[in-house]
Symmetry: C2
Subunit: 236 residues, 2 copies
Amino acid sequence: MAEQAETARRAPLTRDRVLRTAVVLADRTGIESLSMRNLAQDLGVVPMALYKHVANKDELLDGMIDIVVAEIDPPAPGDWKQAIRRRILSARQMLLRHPWASLAIESRTTPTPAVLAYLDSTVGALRAGGFSTDLAHHVMHALGSRVLGFSQELFDTSRQAGRSGATSAGTPADLPPEVAARFPHLAAIATAASHDDDSVVGPGCDDQFEFEFALDLLLDGIERLHRTGWTSHRTG
Amino acid sequence: MAEQAETARRAPLTRDRVLRTAVVLADRTGIESLSMRNLAQDLGVVPMALYKHVANKDELLDGMIDIVVAEIDPPAPGDWKQAIRRRILSARQMLLRHPWASLAIESRTTPTPAVLAYLDSTVGALRAGGFSTDLAHHVMHALGSRVLGFSQELFDTSRQAGRSGATSAGTPADLPPEVAARFPHLAAIATAASHDDDSVVGPGCDDQFEFEFALDLLLDGIERLHRTGWTSHRTG
DNA sequence: AGGCTAGGTGTACGCCGTACACCAGTCAAG
DNA sequence: CTTGACTGGTGTACGGCGTACACCTAGCCT
């Protein structure tokens, strides 16, 4: 009975447990150091045991993506603009919780069913708002990466070291001086917000503000097209 | 005069040659199958020889990025809108030539000098057009991934197999039937264009059109903000 | 009892990046 | 002319990776 107590000590190791442990591990140590061997060790199991539950590492990643995509808030009733706005912001929150997810989703050659479902329901919200399939089609392209909340800040200094989110406290403009000297325009932009005390944006750069700025820019434009009955058909 | 060409090395193997060969190899076989060993073989050299010219694989990737970013057309004179539009579309062409580049650039934790220079000159074009640093700052965030021309079409079926570009000929709506059944809105969008013969967009989905649609949506919104003297400062 | 099956194990293979010791040239200074 | 440092290509080797394959074991059905 001592022997079976030892094996009974750990949970049964289901596919779901494998995937969720992998998500936690990726959250904690980054996607690049998520290996089948590490994951197996976290589960107290030998590496090959995982292959009884996932076909290979690619399928593991797909499963992880499905799990985090499922964390996005379900569509809420209301007008299309509010609904989509809330949805996208919820997706963004998910991606901030799981910093590896955006790159993982992008690197997949084909979207997973959960991603497809998310996109589908977003299109559904547009259609429910009276969008033609034609306009809805183009709008989905226009929202593009924002549909999944990607911020994708190339010059986001916070991405190098710690977690993401607003560069809120401290870190006013931490470009290395030699970089600032060579790229004056970039330097000016990086420090712009901190110079003006009456700016809505605090010191440093508020990712959330920037994201909503771009999002609203797109949404307002989309609304305008919608109101004026825009179509990609030839004018005639 | 007798040159010592008789004993000249067959392969000079400079840092530049290493990087350019790596770019060609990545273009041909994809970034995931670019290894130091493959690259060395392509150069007719032993793997460790590369390390005399690049510190490690990360530095190799940085060097490759610098090379392809340098292919983006230099800024042209003219009004800011045209200048930025041309620049971004040029960047997009570069990314279509080097399909590995967008993911590679995104996965870097810190942008390379060439990327910084590209971003800087884009900001410069805005400033030259009379944008405040404040507005220019937010505009750069808004353009976001589009600054480097990322299309990032999650539901771009062409990405799974061949090269990208417009799904121009054939392939009207190649969603697998079981997928189409489960996601009716997606299916409707995917087939929308092919149903209407008088659409500007031909059969299938014209990536280029979609990209410019989104880009112009953003640019028009930005222009409107610019004209009305938008600022992120508190009103009043 | 006998065998089927699901699930965990152990070993092994071929990739990968790269540390480290080595060696063949070139070339400047003694 | 020697010498010794420096540059750049080589060979070997190590630890980590994904995973194929054979094996074992426990529970279940007949």
